[in-house]
């Protein structure tokens, strides 16, 4: 419940910001993509209600706005996770089974690419070539390049983050009563 409330509050802040920014934009159809880009740039993802707001601002159908926004890969519809996982599916990584690595992450975290876990810990994205094909298949986890990925490594990475999180929580609990 608490988490839901904070999410709602967060969305409200985002929507208020977008509403104030929309005034700068004209009302021609051509402004649609610039507006979507502005939203994504400022908030890292496009909130559901922002699509409606954009449609109303431009006087076009909500579904049409949605159609345009979903067509382009650059637009995200989920907030980025604390740990961002980017799986490379460029040619070299594809040949070396990058899709299997992606599937491993997806199954392990129970989300699809482009999505974020409900606790906002992890998000998965697919990218196309990160420039180190010799290390294929490659995943980028929080700016760190992980070369020669394998299913066992996927498991290890996620386990590592979970242990780290638990450790941080334990230390927080330990330090709290002391205050």
């Amino acid at each position: 419940m608490n988490q839901e409330n904070s999410l709602e509050a967060e969305e409200k802040v985002i929507l208020d910001d977008i509403a104030s920014r929309l005034k700068v934009f004209g009302r021609e159809r051509g402004e649609l993509i610039p507006i979507l880009q502005m939203i994504q740039e400022r908030h890292a993802y496009i909130v559901e209600d922002a699509i409606k707001m954009t449609a109303e601002h431009l006087g076009i159908a909500i579904c049409e706005t949605y159609g345009v926004a979903t067509f382009y890969n650059q637009f995200r519809f989920h907030p980025p996770g604390k740990n961002q996982i980017k799986v490379c599916l460029g040619t070299a990584c594809h040949v070396r089974g990058g899709d299997i690595i992606l599937e491993n992450f997806e199954r392990k975290l129970e989300i699809r690419d482009g999505e974020t876990t409900p606790d906002r810990e992890f998000s998965i994205e697919r990218v196309v070539c990160v420039g180190c094909c010799a290390l294929a298949p490659v995943a980028i986890v929080n700016e760190t390049v992980q070369g020669h990925m394998a299913p066992s490594k996927v498991e290890g990475l996620i386990l590592g983050f979970k242990i780290e999180k638990e450790k941080a929580e334990r230390e927080k609990q330990k330090s709290e009563p002391a205050q």
């Binding site: 909500i62 579904c63 949605y66 159609g67 979903t70």
Partner: protein
């Protein structure tokens, strides 16, 4: 009136209509899915209505050319058939073949085309790529079946034509592409209850009415 020769048969057509329309009006069937009668702006997206026209070096989608006087057309050459079969197989590789449970069974354009081209409904050498969502029930009046849809776009065109703006749109892209009525949840604002033109024009039964799920074209 334009006089043209199609498969060695002389036909007459009104100047300015598409070659595809002229053939269909004269009882010469050319497979097609995305053709809308009377449109000036064919989407030519189904890639099925190819014909060969004398003087042109490649087969052309017949919906994109006008019926002109004196042109000589062949609708059944091997290269035309090859293009049509390939396009059809690709369409079927993303189609859930479950005719027994489909309201369009027996009046489905895909069944007609398969029979006409003498190819099976299930593509033999292509992998089947189905979408995860079997039915999208988000619209208050319509159900949408992504794995039946051939993405011809006729529902979107007819909706726009009837209401001045479309309540349907293409969303996502590539293998994930669907027709969506995203955000259209305001029942008082939706004309769908009285219209259902999209169901009428759908060649495959991908859109059904929530009230009468078995009604199709």
């Amino acid at each position: 009136m334009a006089k043209l020769l199609v498969d060695n048969k002389e036909i007459e057509a009104k100047e300015g209509i598409s070659l595809l329309q002229a053939c269909l009006d004269n009882g010469i069937y050319i497979p097609n899915l995305c053709h809308i009668h009377g449109t000036d702006n064919p989407s030519a997206s189904c890639r099925l209505c190819f014909v060969e026209i004398e003087g042109e070096d490649k087969p052309i989608p017949s919906c994109t050319v006008k019926a002109k006087d004196g042109i000589i057309v062949k609708t059944d050459t091997p290269s035309v058939r090859r293009l049509q079969c390939t396009a059809f197989k690709l369409l079927m590789s993303v189609h859930r073949v479950d005719c027994g449970h489909c309201p369009a069974n027996k009046k489905c354009e895909l069944q007609r085309i398969a029979k006409f081209l003498k190819v099976g409904l299930k593509p033999k050498y292509l992998e089947l790529h189905l979408k995860e969502t079997e039915v999208d029930e988000s619209n208050p009046f319509l159900d949408y079946y992504p794995n039946r849809c051939v993405l011809c776009g006729k529902c979107i065109a007819v909706c726009k034509d009837k209401h001045g703006r479309a309540f349907l749109t293409f969303a996502k892209r590539g293998l994930d592409a669907v027709v969506s009525s995203y955000g259209e949840k305001d029942v008082s604002n939706l004309p769908c209850g009285k219209c259902l033109a999209c169901i009428g024009i759908c060649p495959v039964g991908a859109i059904t009415s929530k009230d009468s799920p078995h009604q199709t074209a």
